[in-house]
């Protein structure tokens, strides 16, 4: 490598924002913990009865284990441009400057908490209800595209409805 290349290589690079890790890593789809599946079975004395009991326990474990959830704590878009986020269920968010949001995407629940500001949603359909909570009210949808604004001067919502 020649002198010019070495000198260029030493130049300090622009760094990504601190929120990038949360945006990227929150997209890893969660998985249930592996159960006792695959363990060697040495004791033949109890035969199929015990095997069935283990099977029942495994089914109960899978049924009772907590649902997979991806949580992102409150995060504020401090940049001057809207930020696009893709949630674990495929829902797309366009977070406008100065908006503060948190979200939790799981098997049973999907919600976004909008503390302040404006966010545009493109909700992935087919995964049940999607709730947006703001200080002044709550919106629940199944799969649609919409915008929510929450500012301190807003009055609380009186009617709540569902939109598909």
């Amino acid at each position: 490598m020649e002198e010019l290349e070495v000198r260029m290589k030493s130049l300090p690079l622009r760094r990504p924002s601190s929120g990038l890790d949360a945006r990227v890593l929150s997209q890893i789809p969660g998985e249930r913990q592996a159960g006792a599946k695959g363990r060697p079975w040495h004791c033949r004395r109890w035969g199929w009865g015990l095997a069935a009991a283990v099977g029942v326990l495994l089914v109960l474990y899978a049924w009772l284990s907590p649902p997979t959830e991806v949580c992102v704590p409150a995060w504020r878009n401090s940049s001057a441009e809207p930020v696009h986020c893709v949630l674990a269920d495929g829902t797309r968010l366009r977070v406008f400057p100065d908006a503060t949001v948190a979200w939790k995407i799981g098997d049973q629940t999907r919600w976004v908490e909008l503390y302040e500001g404006q966010v545009e949603f493109d909700v992935a359909a087919g995964r049940g209800l999607f709730a947006v909570r703001t200080p002044s009210g709550r919106v629940e949808v199944v799969g649609t595209r919409f915008q929510v604004k929450a500012y301190r001067s807003d009055v609380p919502l009186r009617n709540q409805g569902k939109q598909s």
């Binding site: 020649e2 010019l4 290349e5 000198r7 260029m8 290589k9 130049l11 300090p12 690079l13 622009r14 760094r15 990504p16 924002s17 990038l20 890790d21 945006r23 990227v24 890593l25 997209q27 890893i28 789809p29 969660g30 998985e31 940049s79 441009e81 930020v83 696009h84 986020c85 893709v86």
Partner: protein, 160 residues
């Protein structure tokens, strides 16, 4: 987490800066470079099988996502200053370093897309020519000639 997603997470953590720099070279906008990274990893975390060279595959996915982002909304007409480099290093940076950085950034933006991307991928993206050839799907000789030609143009512009 699957083994593949664990490997992807490690690649992201170890190569976040080069991946971001390579995306920035395409989008020329810090925000869009981050969007590209996020979109690429959204798709990568849903892969069913691990590709042969995962690192090169990740760089290719990020580059493709950056190209998609640019297709959807072209880069701003105002050039990003100083392009892929940190805007201001404060008192640690001498006036000479700052001037060199500004001139390299300007010179890089005058190169063709192929030359600029190859130089960024090799010098700051920590990719070997063989890996760049793989991710761009071109012969190795093409990559090395893009790089050589680009460096020669940079040298001429910086000496002017």
């Amino acid at each position: 987490m699957t083994r593949l997603n664990g490997a992807l997470e490690r690649i992201y953590r170890n190569h976040r800066q080069p991946l971001y720099t390579c995306a920035l070279a395409v989008t020329r906008c810090p925000q869009r470079a981050e969007d590209a990274l996020q979109e690429a990893f959204y798709r990568l975390f849903r892969l069913e099988r691990a590709p042969d060279n995962l690192k090169a595959y990740v760089f290719r996915a990020v580059r493709n996502a950056a190209v998609d982002v640019v297709r959807r909304s072209p880069p701003p007409s105002e050039p990003l200053s100083p392009f892929i480099f940190a805007p201001d290093e404060g008192p640690r940076e001498t006036a000479e370093q700052s001037e060199f950085k500004r001139r390299v950034a300007e010179a890089l933006l005058t190169l063709s897309d192929e030359e600029r991307e190859t130089i960024v991928q090799h010098l700051w993206g920590e990719l070997r020519f063989q890996e760049i050839a793989q991710l761009r799907e071109v012969p190795l000789g093409t990559v090395s000639s893009w790089y050589r030609r680009g460096i020669e143009k940079l040298r001429t512009r910086l000496e002017e």
